[in-house]
């Protein structure tokens, strides 16, 4: 086994992740989040191009305050830094396309962006993604978060057979 494929034991990693989440709750009263930052980035970019369009849209104009100077954006900046430091120190840093054995680079990248678009819409609809809704709300035992989490696994298993050529 190469050194670069050594990951933490999943349970140890899970407890560590839970402690990060707990710290977030204990200090700031809020959990983790990722998709919210993507939304703010998107709205900020659109505001550069078409500010009136954003202002007239019920959903895009909903959030208050700055789109860039907010908690969610800073958290994702932190995720980038943390991921960078961890990947670098584990010798896993480098440009590459991660793909299954039977799929080419171009289709893989197409799937990556398509899946991202679907998740972007899904996370808005569910008021959060796997981080903000499933992990954070799940730890608070929120009913909606558990419904969401079950549905995520349901959606993934439901479609897995149809996209198996990408991964296996």
């Amino acid at each position: 086994m190469e050194r670069t494929d050594r990951f933490w034991n999943p349970y140890v990693a899970g407890v560590a992740l839970g402690l990060v989440l707990l710290t977030s709750f204990v200090l700031a009263g809020k959990g983790l989040g990722a998709s919210g930052a993507a939304f703010h980035l998107g709205v900020a970019a659109l505001e550069e191009v078409a500010p009136e369009h954003v202002a007239s849209n019920e959903h895009l104009s909903r959030s208050e305050g700055s789109h860039l100077e907010n908690r969610l954006i800073f958290m994702v900046l932190g995720v980038v830094l943390g991921g960078l430091v961890s990947a670098f120190s584990a010798g896993r840093l480098g440009l590459r396309v991660v793909r299954g054995p039977r799929i080419g680079v171009a289709p893989r990248l197409g799937m990556a962006i398509a899946g991202g678009v679907i998740m972007g819409m899904a996370a808005r609809m569910a008021l959060g993604c796997t981080s903000g809704q499933a992990l954070s709300g799940g730890a608070l035992l929120s009913v909606g978060s558990w419904v969401f989490m079950m549905a995520v696994f349901g959606g993934g298993y439901g479609l897995a057979w149809f996209v198996r050529r990408q991964w296996t």
Binding site: V15, G29, L32, V80, G120, V147
Partner: protein
């Protein structure tokens, strides 16, 4: 000091940004170390030969869940406040459909939004494109929002928690979830073994990752044992936790404008209406008897200490879903005007349409109430009722009398 730190809860700026950055750092570091920067490892969850996603996610949830119970039980953390500020409302159907879609996006892209960031940071181009897709997707959602708004805001259950729904204490639910999670971990490991050896799934990919049996790993034993012990400890530090008692505080129930209007007129002593829109808007138009409240200085109301005799009704320019901490601290019932002030305007400040011919007694009564309220509030008399139609009978022929 009682946690969470109030200034961080109220404002996301300044120190809040630094804290968010540091927490994000830990989040990204751990995700990368778990192997979540790599799409093949994440997608393997759905092909059964590597259930790392499930194991990491549920041990994280269990850890934080128990941690909050213990920290709340010993009085370190105001758990009620964390629940109010940390949890979103439950929108049952949007969350179910959103979850299914997110699962679909997960298996198509190989990442979830958070892990796509970690993948990007470690140099995976597929991760960068996934994150770009998430950005684009959330903006597209805004564009199509008018079409699906009624679905997206449907089945709004307010903030709702499993312990309250079951009427069982949070510590007990946590213990049960922990036990179920540990059993599920053992099950997941069994599935992995079968998938790899009998079904020959994973192939080269599986060989790259963890060895099949992680049973001898001391980290695994320590982690699982810690969770089990902590869950029992959670029960010990919170001997009795009457979950349902506080539920009305945490979940602001909705109140319709019509119901509110009746209470304002008929039993004004039973409610206290707080208008969060600010003094200017309040001066222009308001619900009779409501108080303008400066959202920056809610603590001045001292609701925390007020005897919970009346129901609080919060009004804003739209439905208030998450109560500000100072209002949520009120020990009595807190209601939120559904649809916010615009709903009140529609109900009370527009001239009601008269009932149709076949209207029931109740409908006619309601119309009279609305018309009177509207006339009172707008200072406009409703259009005068049409003069009673004179019953035209046969005139009596003048028969004598009078001067002619």
């Amino acid at each position: 000091m009682r946690l969470p730190i109030e200034s961080l809860v109220v404002s996301d700026l300044g120190a809040g940004l630094v804290v968010a950055l540091l927490i994000g750092f830990g989040f990204g570091f751990v995700l990368e170390r778990a192997g979540f920067g790599r799409a093949t490892k994440l997608a393997a969850q759905f092909y059964l030969h590597d259930m790392t996603v499930f194991k990491v996610m549920f041990s994280a949830i269990v850890t934080a869940m128990i941690g909050l119970v213990v920290a709340g039980g010993v009085g370190l953390v105001d758990l009620d406040m964390v629940l109010r500020t940390g949890a979103s409302s439950t929108f049952f159907w949007p969350m179910l459909v959103g979850g299914l879609l997110l699962g679909v996006g997960f298996i198509v892209s190989g990442y979830c939004p958070g892990t796509s960031v970690v993948a990007s940071a470690s140099g995976n181009i597929d991760g960068m494109l996934t994150f770009l897709g998430v950005v684009v997707g959330s903006v597209i959602y805004g564009e199509i929002y008018p079409l699906i708004a009624s679905f997206a805001t449907s089945s709004d259950w307010g903030q709702r928690f499993i312990p309250d729904a079951l009427g069982v204490s949070r510590a007990v639910v946590s213990l049960v979830v922990t036990v179920v999670a540990i059993l599920a971990f053992l099950g997941a490991e069994a599935v992995e073994r079968i998938a790899r050896t009998r079904w020959k799934l994973g192939g080269a990919g599986a060989a790259q990752d963890e060895p099949v049996s992680s049973g001898r790993d001391p980290g695994r034993r320590a982690a699982l044992a810690t969770l089990a012990v902590a869950a029992v400890a959670g029960l010990a530090v919170t001997p009795v936790w009457p979950a349902p008692a506080a539920s009305s505080i945490r979940h602001p129930d909705g109140i319709d404008a019509g119901v509110l209007a009746h209470r304002v007129v008929e039993t004004p002593w039973s409610i206290r209406v707080l208008d969060l829109r600010g003094e200017q808007a309040w001066t222009k138009a308001r619900i009779p008897g409501s108080e303008p409240v400066d959202t920056g200085a809610l603590d001045r109301l001292g609701l925390r200490f007020v005897e919970p005799g009346v129901d609080l009704v919060v009004v804003d320019s739209r439905t208030v879903r998450t109560l500000p901490a100072e209002i949520a601290a009120y020990r009595g019932r807190v209601l939120s005007l559904r649809g916010g002030f615009p709903a009140w305007e529609r109900y009370a400040l527009t001239t009601p349409r008269p009932p149709t011919a076949g209207a029931s007694e109740a409908e006619r009564g309601e119309h009279v109430f609305r018309a009177a309220l509207n006339a009172f509030l707008t200072g406009q008399q409703a259009a005068a009722p049409p003069p009673p139609v004179r019953t035209v009978g046969p005139r009596r022929s003048g028969g004598g009398g009078g001067c002619s």
